[in-house]
């Protein structure tokens, strides 16, 4: 039968026509390829019906060949976000009803009530929307294979969000397992544009026997980027300083749009801006909301519903609203402060003007004037369509041992057969027989050293030749721990009188005493007591309160963006006619040029300044905070080989500072040597405490591999007798089993992620080809000033900071 004349396509075309729509070419293409048995990946901007490209493909195929689809699960829809599933299910159910199919469409994830789950287990719906974690939980059920036998298609939504982290590896493993149960399965990924689409496709679809296609929508989202300039330029910028002054610029933007999302980078900033906006315009109360990951789920749901209904005028939020449900009324996005990456910026911009032919509109509000260079860099990058890659993770043994135990809890597995399958995935393509044996030993004997322990029998080899978990308690503990998202230790915050407000990190609470006030979810709260992982609070009338900081808040600058940043800065002395941000910055740039230097694209700037505090050395690699952490330690190490010195180190996304109370022996003769790319990694290893970094990385690994039992916030039962810290386990393993694969993985992760070895190498490669400019400045320059202030923040309380900065500024101005 010709697909173009098929009954199924006719029905769908008619249905769309009734709604005044017609399929986009990429949708039509997807439907046709699916009908021909292809798997593939669809790349399209949000709002153009990516979902329907894959979903309707299955519907059309079903309408044409109902006999191929027996009762039960037909389509599995895996998306990274729970909140997406709910609305997607609604949209799909509507479509199914309209078309007149008798399919049931259901959601299954951590929020699904037990009664619904039991019902699903008796009879699976035709379409199930779920998450990678829930897929693995399904695999841990007894007799789970019966549910998946007849699945025709698995769709991976927002694949770019999963690729590049361990949830992506969970997804790869889930697909491998599904193929085991349903060999004819078609696999479709849906993704936004990223830098490495080809690789993204190969990770998702590594299987030789599949017919694979990748379909790119030609439609482009129109995007307006508007930078909000302050009234006057600060020649000595410092992070966060512009905040209060910019409030008056933001209020009119909110007023002139229907619904505005205001993105900040950290939860702490969100709380701060919420307060600032409310106190500047009190009648926004009730129309302005705050949304971030630490706010109670119910409240967040309420906020999301009220954005969708158009009731809320504006919402201050964090990356918590980067993804998720399409909010139709949102016609404007404001980004406050650096966004750190091109992809993230576009993602956020795309949250406004959601329907295909609307424009997205994003305002960029700098928190200090240097960030204007960044917006100029962003515009350039977007013009050139340069978007970051997401690098897939490989050989994550923590995820693998978790998966093995998951299968052992479920139906059990055959060792050789599973190894054969695992090796076909991208993540474990290079696993060796030896690694595999180690993993088997780890789950059956607890690792190499535990050979003789009778009491350790997590996974046992059963009489039928399959590895299984026999203990109910171990099964239960394991199911609680499935997943690859390891959250910081969070405590629930609850009113003394009842009612949850949100979550807060333990380390923040630990600094508070009863009676202290803090801000959460836009409310000032007084700490009463901490009990059973719950922080009990009451409303506070205090005028002053601390805004909590969350550890996970600081994102480093991506290498793509930092590349454009360097280019723009070097242009800044002679900006183009339309580069209003750079033109605006002219006074600052001139000052930098006058007192020091503006580094050109082929230059690397080093500044040395002597002040009352001591001797400062500044370097500006523009490689982001994480790389600078390593870079600065390395330079400090190399200098201290010339002369033993103690340094205080400060860094931001643009550069770093070494401060010493004695002269730093850096001059034109030795600077090239100090910045040499020779012996780079050797010196890095000598300069950092790799073991401590690895110990921090080991935290997630230990939880994922089941070495540490996570306690659930707010629950009384937290397996107290099994509590231990990953740091303790790390030390034990270093002492007793140094060749443990999970330890090795921790070190690998340090090198790949923390030290960003590849990026560091290429930075030094670039510097080795650059002219190194060493400048002695009389006082702080526009580039060094933010570093100075940031380092003050580390050691001083906020009250004195303003005065202190004022004084430094006055001193700096004196030379004019």
């Amino acid at each position: 039968m010709n697909f173009k004349e098929s009954e199924g396509l006719r029905i769908i075309n008619n249905w769309m026509a009734e709604k005044g729509q017609a399929p986009f070419p990429f949708q039509l293409q997807t439907w046709q390829r699916y009908a021909n048995g292809y798997s593939g990946m669809v790349i399209a901007p949000t709002g153009f019906g990516k979902t329907f490209s894959v979903f309707l493909a299955v519907v059309i195929d079903y309408l044409n060949h109902p006999e191929k689809y027996p009762k039960g699960l037909k389509l599995l829809w895996i998306s990274p976000l729970r909140s997406l599933a709910k609305d997607l299910a609604k949209a799909i159910t509507e479509a199914v009803d309209d078309i007149g199919l008798d399919w049931s469409v259901q959601v299954r994830n951590g929020d699904t009530p037990t009664s619904v789950r039991r019902k699903q287990e008796r009879l699976m719906p035709d379409v199930l929307l779920t998450t990678p974690e829930t897929m693995h939980l399904l695999f841990s059920q007894k007799k789970n294979s019966r549910w998946f036998k007849n699945v025709e298609c698995v769709a991976i939504d927002e694949w770019h969000e999963l690729l590049g982290n361990k949830r992506g590896v969970l997804t790869e493993l889930a697909i491998s397992q599904l193929r085991h149960h349903a060999p004819r399965l078609r696999i479709w990924g849906i993704t936004a544009t990223i830098g490495n689409l080809e690789e993204a496709k190969n990770v998702l679809l590594p299987y030789q026997d599949l017919k694979v296609i990748h379909i790119i929508a030609k439609q482009k989202k129109k995007l307006d980027i508007i930078s909000v300039l302050p009234d006057e330029i600060e020649v000595l910028p410092w992070a966060g300083h512009l905040g209060a002054k910019m409030v008056d610029k933001i209020l009119p933007i909110i007023a002139s749009n229907t619904t505005t999302l205001i993105f900040t980078n950290t939860r702490g900033q969100a709380e701060l801006w919420y307060q600032l906006l409310l106190s500047a315009q009190p009648d926004l109360a009730g129309l302005l909301a705050i949304h971030h990951g630490s706010i109670d789920k119910k409240l967040r749901n309420w906020i999301e519903d009220n954005i969708a209904s158009g009731y809320l005028k504006a919402v201050v939020c964090t990356s918590s609203l980067d993804l998720g449900v399409d909010f139709k009324p949102v016609d404007c996005v404001i980004q406050i402060g650096s966004v750190k990456g091109i992809a993230r910026f576009m993602q956020r911009a795309g949250r406004s003007g959601h329907s295909p032919f609307e424009r997205s509109k994003i305002y960029f509000v700098p928190t200090h004037s240097l960030e204007l260079v960044e917006i100029s860099a962003l515009k350039e990058a977007i013009r050139e369509n340069q978007i970051e890659s997401r690098d897939p993770m490989v050989l994550t043994f923590d995820v693998l041992v978790q998966f093995m135990v998951t299968l052992a809890v479920g139906e059990g597995f055959d060792s050789q057969e599973l190894l054969y399958r695992i090796q076909k995935t991208h993540a474990f393509h290079y696993i060796t027989e030896e690694d595999w044996q180690w993993c088997l030993n780890f789950i059956t004997k607890g690792g190499k050293t535990l050979n003789s322990y009778e009491e350790f029998h997590k996974v046992v080899l059963d009489e039928d030749g399959k590895y299984k978990v026999k203990s109910r308690r171990i099964s239960m503990l394991h199911r609680m721990n499935i997943g690859a998202i390891v959250s910081d230790v969070n405590l629930k915050v609850k009113y003394f009188s009842g009612g949850y407000i949100g979550m807060i990190e333990e380390f923040f609470v630990s600094k508070l005493k009863p009676g202290d006030s803090f801000i959460l979810a836009g409310r000032v709260l007084e700490l009463v007591q901490i009990k059973d992982m719950t922080v009990l609070v009451r409303r506070s009338k205090a005028k002053k309160a601390v805004s909590p900081s969350w550890l996970g808040g600081r994102l480093p600058l991506t290498s793509h963006l930092s590349h454009f940043l360097r280019l723009k800065l070097s242009d800044a002395l002679e900006p183009g006619r339309f580069e209003k941000e750079l033109r605006f910055l002219n006074p600052l740039v001139s000052r930098q040029e006058k007192h020091s230097h503006i580094p050109k694209a082929n230059e690397f700037l080093v500044e040395s300044i002597k002040t009352r505090d001591g001797y400062h050395l500044f370097m500006y690699p523009f490689e982001g905070r994480l790389v600078h952490e390593v870079f600065s330690a390395l330079i400090a190490y190399r200098i201290s080989k010339l002369k033993p010195l103690t340094f205080t180190i400060a860094m931001n996304d643009y550069g770093f500072e070494l401060l010493s109370d004695q002269p730093i022996p850096v001059n034109e003769e030795n600077i090239t040597e100090l910045l040499s790319k020779e012996r780079l990694m050797d010196d890095v290893i000598a300069s950092i405490n790799a073991s401590e970094m690895a110990s921090r990385k080991f935290r997630d690994i230990a939880v994922i591999a089941g070495l540490v039992v996570q306690s659930q916030p707010g629950t009384r039962k937290n397996n107290k007798s099994l509590q231990s810290s990953s740091g303790l386990i790390f030390r034990v393993l270093e002492d007793y089993e140094p060749d443990n694969l999970l330890l090795r993985q921790a070190y690998t992760e340090v090198f790949n992620q923390q030290l960003e070895e590849v990026r560091l190498q290429s930075a030094f490669e670039r510097i080795s080809k650059s002219n190194i400019i060493l400048k002695r400045a009389e006082s702080f320059t526009p580039l060094s000033f933010p570093l100075k202030v940031d380092s003050l923040r580390g050691t001083m309380s906020n009250e004195n900071l303003d005065k202190r900065i004022q004084r430094i500024k006055e001193q700096a101005f004196k030379i004019d």
Binding site: F456, I474, S724, G727
Partner: protein, 217 residues
């Protein structure tokens, strides 16, 4: 193993702090220690968390050295001798204990010591909920309400957090001494450290293999 000592005087009694997580009390020929958590590694293994029992053997070897070094005939254990259920670690401990003749174990019951009475009897341990040997009162968990006594306790696994330049942070186990009490560090190496405290005026004696250091708040 390197045993270092530091003498302190409390209520006119001389106590000898060691860098091996135990106090020697000369007058009573006793070692005072706390939180040995015997059975913890096996308890973890039983629940599918692989932890080698070499940790326990190392703890016991340290204890044996201390007993030999100070030639004591009493062990005053201020709680949490056992971690959870009776398991192979507990059997290992029993065999290990058999080598000492005439040594007396006194256990001030801790929150973890939930082994049945018959099992405890088997070990020939004298069990108390609280013990007074003037001028000290031994309880597992320090309590503020008993302002008449000087309390020697354990339970919290105290540690001290040292902050250096350049964001250096170092956590060390310690003895916490105030004017009405002394809290012992956990004897077992398979324990975490708790650096939080509500009390003020604490003197911390932190230690490493190489030394004992005094910190005043």
């Amino acid at each position: 193993m390197n045993i270092l000592t530091k003498h302190i005087t409390i209520k006119n009694e001389e106590l000898t702090l060691t860098n091996q997580r135990a106090i020697y009390w000369k007058r009573e020929d006793a070692l005072i220690l706390s939180d040995i958590h015997i059975g913890k590694t096996a308890h973890f293994r039983r629940h599918g968390i692989p932890v080698p029992d070499a940790i326990l053997l190392k703890d016991l070897a340290r204890l044996k050295s201390l007993i030999g070094y100070f030639k004591v005939n009493r062990l005053l254990i201020v709680g949490d001798l056992f971690h959870a259920e009776s398991n192979v670690d507990v059997q290992t401990f029993k065999k290990w204990l058999a080598q000492f003749e005439g040594i007396k174990l006194i256990l001030i019951k801790g929150n973890h010591d939930r082994l049945s009475k018959s099992l405890m009897d088997d070990f020939n341990i004298q069990i108390e909920t609280e013990l007074i040997i003037e001028p000290f009162t031994f309880i597992h968990e320090y309590s503020e309400e008993r302002h008449d006594a000087f309390i020697i306790s354990g339970h919290t696994h105290p540690g001290v957090l040292l902050k250096g330049k350049g964001k250096q942070r170092l956590k060390l186990p310690c003895y916490q001494v105030t004017n009405d009490g002394l809290i012992l560090p956990a004897f077992s190496l398979f324990t975490g450290l708790n650096t939080r405290t509500k009390k003020s005026g604490i003197i911390s004696y932190a230690f490493l293999e190489s030394g004992i250091y005094k910190f005043t708040e």
